[in-house]
């Protein structure tokens, strides 16, 4: 038996989460096969071998020239059908989860998304199911965990990003070519066009995020937050209360259904710290809450806090920065 890892890549650029999936796959003690989709990924063999892939399966087809969930799903499902691996592990990302959902649907197998860890000892004994896995996975975007049991001949799982730390396990991989049989209809959901974003600091990568919540009060009142953010080389983020009110665009929203941020410092201004906001902010190295309410959840969970009206505190911080720069 083997473990199959689905390599996530975009036109040949590998997603780092793939190495986490390979690391998790290695822990199962069976040979790890990695499948790459499309000829653009043929150059990834060495990187995959360095992370423990014993065999790299290169699937080639005209319909795999770019990403397409149906074409990718059927290709992986066909390979699983040929080789019956004991498990398929993919990245817990938009694409990884999407592809395994297709594989699960095609093969009528259960699929468990966003796992943190799994215990393959079959600790539970359910009637009729061979060697179920006991899995810990995330719910509510990470605010809650679930233990579940997965019973299937081939286990389909994705690893939540950062659940395991990717490590290398240098080796040499053999390559194998795989020609899936895809029909023209598989092409209907292949990407037809792309618009590349201008380079620059994004909410997800900014070193400083100044976040504003309902406490900011209006779209105009974000101006001092913008000013502070630009002084710090950062960007403005916000809570869902703000986007729901139409004060700012959803692209600024931090949280479970927004963006996950990981800045050196997050200044959370007038944000109560609801659990769905917190999961988007908790990877910040430091959090400073500015809130009139000393009992606010954000204040309790933050590393630092200033108790006070953000409309006074934020401009005062900006003024102090300018004062020191001009001194």
């Amino acid at each position: 038996m083997s473990i199959l890892v689905v390599v996530e890549h975009d036109r040949g650029t590998v997603a780092p989460a793939t190495f986490e999936a390979l690391t998790a796959a290695r822990s199962l003690g069976e040979p790890v096969h990695a499948i790459t989709l499309g000829a653009s990924a043929d150059g990834l063999v060495d990187q995959l071998a360095a992370h423990g892939a014993a065999v790299v399966v290169q699937a080639h087809h005209d319909l795999l020239a770019d990403y397409g969930p149906e074409a990718w799903g059927d290709t992986v499902a066909q390979y699983v059908g040929h080789t019956s691996p004991s498990a398929v592990i993919a990245t817990g990302t938009d694409r990884g989860n999407e592809v395994l959902a297709h594989v699960g649907a095609i093969l009528d197998l259960p699929f468990v998304a966003n796992c943190l860890s799994f215990d393959t000892a079959g600790a539970f004994d359910t009637a009729g199911a061979a060697d179920p896995w006991q899995i810990t996975r995330v719910r509510w975007g990470g605010s809650l965990l679930e233990q579940c049991e997965l019973s299937a001949t081939t286990k389909l799982v994705t690893m939540t990003h950062h659940a395991v730390e990717a490590t290398e396990s240098p080796g040499i991989a053999s390559t194998e070519s795989f020609a899936p049989s895809l029909e023209p209809w598989h092409g209907r959901s292949v990407v037809v066009d792309r618009v590349e974003r201008a380079a620059g600091v994004t909410l997800a990568t900014a070193p400083v995020v100044v976040g504003g919540g309902r406490g900011v009060g209006s779209p105009e009142a974000f101006a001092p937050l913008e000013d502070l953010a630009s002084l710090l080389g950062g960007v403005v983020g916000c809570s869902r209360a703000v986007t729901n009110n139409g004060w700012r665009n959803h692209t600024d929203q931090v949280g479970q259904t927004g963006t996950r941020i990981a800045p050196d410092i997050y200044l959370a201004c007038g944000i109560s710290g609801a659990i769905q906001h917190w999961v988007g902010a908790m990877a910040s190295k430091k959090i400073l809450a500015i809130n009139t309410d000393p009992e606010a959840n954000m204040v309790a969970k933050a590393d630092y806090a200033v108790i006070g009206d953000l409309h006074q505190v934020v401009p005062a911080i900006a003024a102090e920065i300018r004062r020191r720069r001009n001194a």
């Binding site: 938009d94 699960g104 649907a105 975007g141 679930e146 049991e149 959901s189 990407v191 692209t251 769905q276």
Partner: protein, 255 residues
């Protein structure tokens, strides 16, 4: 144009999620319920599609009898028809949920004709299985793309759908009938009007009792996520705290 949107009733926890004594559910004694945010946007999108292209929108949920509340909320926003797939007790696993929904859709379509567009959320807020929509689309033999942040019906039975990626935007051109998994941010959902709310009380909620077998994923227990607890350092009160904040920013090297 006939549009169907599938939503799930979920609790709306605030600062903390409490688990029941048996470990199998969120303690909802003091909680309100809502529709997952991605699905709220899917409902809004369904209503807009019908406003632009004519036709009718239907909302469907599989859940407890109380999920009537989420169906009527959708109706208050402009969805014309509502269907409940009633279940008793714990949530169904994703395979089972999808099989029940696919069966119900087949039944609705054989009565009233196919849905041109079926909308799902990208993932449910609570269980986040990332799959019910995909399973339903596959069993109906229709294309599906997830993560959609823009939908445009371009005529000749083609829908252009946009999604965000690491590097920018990806565009898909999909033939109808089509299934799409929508993400929050695709639109800004409206609030119900008084008239909408009154109207939603009167609609008849159809029922299709689901009867399908459980799938291969079984929940054993819920666990609290590891909390990052530590004391908060209060840097001061009001604008006088600015100097201490800037000292901190200097210390962290972000200035």
């Amino acid at each position: 144009m006939r549009v169907l949107v599938c939503v799930k009733r979920v609790p709306a926890p605030g600062a903390k999620i409490n688990i029941t004594a048996d470990g199998l559910a969120i303690d909802t004694a003091y909680l309100a319920f809502t529709t997952s945010p991605h699905e709220e946007c899917a409902v809004e999108e369904a209503v807009r599609l019908v406003e632009q292209h004519g036709g009718e929108a239907t909302v469907l949920t599989l859940g407890p009898a109380e999920a009537d509340e989420q169906l009527r909320y959708a109706a208050s926003l402009g969805v014309a028809k509502a269907v409940l797939l009633p279940i008793v007790g714990a949530d169904w696993d994703p395979q089972r949920t999808a099989a029940a929904i696919a069966t119900a859709i087949a039944e609705l379509e054989s009565a009233d004709g196919p849905f041109d567009i079926i909308l799902f959320g990208n993932e449910s807020a609570d269980s986040g299985g990332f799959q019910v929509g995909v399973r339903v689309a596959r069993s109906l033999g229709r294309p599906i793309v997830n993560g959609i942040k823009g939908i445009e019906v371009v005529g000749d039975g083609t829908v252009r759908a946009r999604r965000e990626s690491e590097v920018g935007l990806e565009v898909y051109a999909l033939p109808t009938p089509v299934v799409l998994g929508v993400k929050e941010g695709i639109n800004l959902p409206r609030y119900p009007t008084l008239k909408g709310r009154l109207g939603s009380k009167k609609i008849e909620v159809g029922q299709i009792v689901p009867d399908v077998a459980a799938g291969g994923q079984r929940m054993v227990t819920l666990l609290p996520a590891a909390e990052q607890v530590g004391a908060t350092t209060i840097l001061g009160h009001g604008p006088d705290a600015a100097a201490a904040v800037v000292d901190l920013l200097e210390e962290l090297g972000v200035l």
